[in-house]
Structures are given as structure tokens and as C-alpha cells.
Symmetry: C2
Subunit: 183 residues, 2 copies
């Protein structure tokens, strides 16, 4: 298996992560349900009611955009493989660091949104925070689907960040610290 196959695999994983992020952002962002409370007040639930969901929509959008840019980079490095040798090490370091940041930010946003959603399902009796999902059921189910997609995207991002670590650290010598080996 040569390096071009590796780039194709990375591009496929990035495409999956991007699709899932877009799907998750749309599912959360377009989710809304209107309910009549106490037969008088009409309340509309949207993602803006909960900060964690608001953050999740924006993080997922940024992650999707980032993966689109990286897909372009994959395409270019597959086309012009030979002519980019000199700057390859710097590019590998930049990709590694950006991928690390992207995966931790996306994972953190997902966990926060999951925690907020769990509180909306269970409530917190000792705090007198009431459950909400028994009233806004359809809304909550859609958020659940979005969180599933978003976690799947994070999982793909974790694999991608391992691949970019592989692409970077394989350039170094196994015996001497931070010595480059081009063989």
C-alpha cells in the first residue's frame, strides 16, 4: 500500500466526518417544536434555549468547514505529490496540531451537549430542575439523532487525528530523538 492509497483513505474519512457534522448541525439547528403550556401560553423550543446546543451547532459547522479545507489539501497533495516534498514536514505538523484541536473541541462540545440533554430528559430533582423531554418529545428525539451523528463525526475525527500523527511521526528516527529519516 503506497502513500496515495493512504491519502484516499484520509479523504474518505474526512468526507464522512464532514457529512456527519453538517447533518448534526442541520438536525440541531432546524429542530423546533411548539407546545401549549397550561392551555394558555405557547412555547417554542429551539436550540437557542440551551447554550450547549447553540455551541454544538457552531462547532459542528466549523468542523465541517475545516474538513472541507483539509479535503482540498488531500486533493492537492494527491495531485502534486512530488513537488511538495520540501514543505511536507511543516504541513504535517500543522495538520497534526489542527486535527488535535478539532477533535478535542468537537468532542468537548458533544459531551457538553449530551450532558445538557441528559439533564433535560431526567431533570435534577434535588435542584428542582424539571424534566422537559416528556413534553417536547419529538424535539428531544431529533436532538438525540443529532448527537449520535455528531459523536460519529468525532470518532472519525479521532481516527483522522491518528492518521495525521502517523503521517508526521513516521518521518522521525526510531532511535534518536527528533532526527529525521527519509527512508
Amino acid at each position: 500500500m503506497e502513500s496515495r492509497t493512504m491519502v484516499k483513505m484520509e479523504a474518505f474519512l474526512r468526507l464522512c466526518a464532514m457529512m456527519l457534522s453538517i447533518l448534526a448541525a442541520c438536525l440541531v439547528g432546524l429542530d423546533s417544536q411548539t407546545k401549549l403550556l397550561f392551555n394558555t401560553i405557547e412555547r417554542k423550543a429551539t436550540f437557542r434555549d440551551l447554550d450547549a446546543l447553540f455551541v454544538l451547532v457552531h462547532v459542528d459547522s466549523v468542523v465541517a468547514g475545516y474538513n472541507l479545507l483539509q479535503l482540498g489539501r488531500c486533493f492537492i497533495s494527491a495531485r502534486f505529490e512530488g513537488s511538495l516534498k520540501g514543505s511536507y514536514l511543516y504541513l504535517a505538523w500543522v495538520c497534526f496540531l489542527l486535527d488535535q484541536i478539532a477533535v478535542y473541541v468537537s468532542f468537548g462540545a458533544n459531551s457538553a451537549a449530551l450532558q445538557a440533554s441528559v439533564l433535560a430528559i431526567t431533570g435534577a430533582r434535588s435542584f428542582q430542575w424539571m424534566k422537559l423531554c416528556n413534553r417536547y418529545t419529538r424535539f428531544c428525539v431529533q436532538i438525540g439523532g443529532a448527537l449520535f451523528c455528531s459523536y460519529a463525526a468525532s470518532l472519525f475525527m479521532a481516527v483522522i487525528s491518528s492518521i495525521s500523527a502517523f503521517n508526521l511521526f513516521r518521518l522521525y528516527s526510531p532511535k534518536q530523538f527528533l532526527l529525521l529519516k527519509f527512508n
Copy 2:
């Protein structure tokens, strides 16, 4: 810089991560504050009131234990450097995978606890979830300190996971996929 220095650096980082995890687990676990509500009911706030804090205490304890085990591994691999060559690749893979799991689990638990704590500070007006930190101020400040320590531990874990990725992937050839190079 030879590999022994690298092991020492890893051991130091693991020690820091372990200390910070233990500190965070203790700060959350031993935090409690009693308040008189409506001049009649006495309410005691502990970490058991919020699932996210309960999970955080256990995750931090497990992460601290894991880092202790890995410290032992560092000590052994520094002592008997020569005699472990054969199994080094498998050990590097196991460390890499375990470190990845540890850092994501710890990061996820931190983000969930942070989200729950933010909700306790700000409340959620549209859900009629009331603020709690204006009443249990000392409790909340201690949780804030614990979250800071816990995030610092996660940061150390992220650096450690990069080091274990480096230790693993530097064994592979930069040109051919998954070919080992021992030079």
C-alpha cells in the same frame, strides 16, 4: 537527547497528570455545603446531586490509577531497556490505544461537568431551571477549582498521548505503509 530522557519526560508528565486528577477527585468528592432554605429545611449540597460530578470523581480516580500503572511501566522500561526489545511494538500499540481512550474519556467527563456547572451558575430561564450558585457559593467555587485541575490533567494527558503516538509511529517507515524500520 536519547530515549531515556524521553521516558523521564513522559514519567514527569504522567506524575503531574496523576497528581492533578487526584486533587480534582478529592476537591469534588469532599465538597459539601449545608444551607437553610426558607428558614426551615436544611439542604446539603454534595457531588451526588449532579450526575456529571459523580461521573467526574470516578473518571478522575480511574485516570489517576491508570497513570500510576503507566508510571510503573515507565520505571520498568527505563531500568530494563535492552531486554524488552522484542515486545516493544505491541507495548507501544497498547500504550497508544489506552492513552487515546484515557484522554477522550477524561476530556468528555470534564466537558460534561463543566456544562452542568455552567447551568448551575447561570440557570436556564426558558426552562425555569433556577440558579444554584448564588446560594451555594463556596461549594461552587471549590467545584470550579476542581474543574480547573481536571482540565489541566486532561491537557497533560493530551501531551502524553502525543508522546505515545510519537513512540509508536516513529517505528514505521516514512515511505512504505506499515513497514517497520529499526534505524
